[in-house]
Symmetry: none
Subunit: 236 residues, 2 copies
DNA sequence: TAGTGGTCTAGACCACGGA
DNA sequence: CCGTGGTCTAGACCACTAG
């Protein structure tokens, strides 16, 4: 009748206890033998549950000592591709965008290569300053192919571009490749970000693709170093 | 006598076959029963080996069908956790390390928190300058718990630390969390990296964990901005 | 129906950590 | 020393997939 495996029941019970705060970081959980008695199962079944939780990062084990609760990080989820708006909203910051310019221009070498276009195909070039809780955090230069978007206006760019791509145009965003560098702010960038000219900035170049393999954006961003840092989760 | 567990032997044999091309993407590997006979062990031991390889992304299973070899993408490795040595070697650069100091010191707040230690537990503190083709690329400050490593000496730190962790100590590195920031070089860092004091540097803080969930290193690194940038592949 | 992986048992001996 | 987790056995029944 009951087709939920026992080890999953044990897993869920422990996850629940962590979520409710009954088990906290560093706490030792019941030993494998105690859990074996408690659930009236064999030790291997208990171990299957615990090993899964170790793999998912909820627990860690120490031979000869016991099994302990790991830190529960929100960071853990921030490994995917998030837009600036999504990222800030997740952390309860208010996002506003100031549009510097929206132009329709021919793609030169660098841009046409990134967007898989021919030279001189038309692209929208958008410059924005983006604020988190009214502090300027990043200046971005965005290139998108006109062939894909037809019309780009100030109203669209005042909000979340990814939201527009996914919810309005119903395109599927797949992945992006980004490079991250340290730079010194230029006069122009320093002005937009309201920092001094000798301040360091994080320069990110982002190339994003749809699920059909086509690129839909190429973005050059400059983040204020004192306001922003990247968090990355890498698996060996 | 032989203290390498059987399941690790099975794991290594399969990994080796994949590396040599004997097993390729989509190939079905021997069934659990066949492997059980082959190694003359119980089925649970075979399953432990296969499940580890599934968790590491080498294999995938289909109930009722079999166990298959996964795509081994180079992409997959570029987004994974690579040591500086591995990364440079992959690009045919020569790596050398200059040891600035190796000290045994008590862990203060920041370090003990990152390494899950108690305050004043002893940690090794190692400072190195790392060169790619004889150009200084990064200055790193590494903290590792003494309880885990017993002895750290100059000979070990002249080479790849990850190689030592995995091949000599036989520990399994699982994942790391890193933050990436832009900074200005301090006088000390500028000197080690042979750059001017007003140059920007990439500051990376890295916290790495073993497969038992325990942290084994906390590293603060400073990369020369003109020599190094990050490339990240992010999936939506 | 035969073969695969998924779940589970009831034991066993070992290595490690702490008292 | 004892309790912990690590490894391992020799079975069992089940659910899924394919011919």
């Amino acid at each position: 009748m009951n087709n939920i495996p026992i080890y999953q029941i044990i897993e869920n019970d422990i996850k629940q206890s962590i979520k409710e705060g009954l088990l906290q970081h560093g706490d030792m959980i019941q030993s494998e033998n105690e859990l074996k008695e408690k659930y009236n199962v064999s030790r291997m079944t208990v171990r299957q549950a615990l090993n899964n939780l170790v793999n998912e990062g909820f627990l860690y084990k120490h031979k000869g000592k016991g099994t302990f609760v790991n830190t529960l990080k929100i960071d853990k989820k921030i490994q995917g591709l998030l837009s600036f708006t999504e990222e800030m909203t997740l952390m309860n910051h208010k996002v506003t965008n100031k549009i510097i310019s929206i132009k329709l221009i021919p793609a030169l070498d660098e841009v046409s290569a990134k967007l898989y276009l021919n030279r001189n195909d038309m692209v929208y070039f958008i410059e924005r300053v983006r604020y988190s809780d009214d502090i300027p955090v990043l200046f971005e230069q965005l290139y998108v192919p006109q062939s894909l978007f037809k019309v780009i206006n100030e109203e669209i760019m005042k909000g979340s571009f990814y939201h527009y791509v996914e919810k309005v145009l119903h395109l599927k965003i797949n992945f992006s490749i980004q490079t991250i560098e340290a730079r010194l702010a230029t006069q122009e960038i320093a002005q937009y970000l309201e920092i001094s000219k000798t301040s360091p900035v994080l320069h990110i170049s982002l190339n994003s693709f749809l699920d059909n393999g086509r690129p839909f954006e190429y973005v050059k961003s400059y983040y204020r170093a004192d306001q922003y840092r990247f968090i990355q989760h890498a698996v060996r």
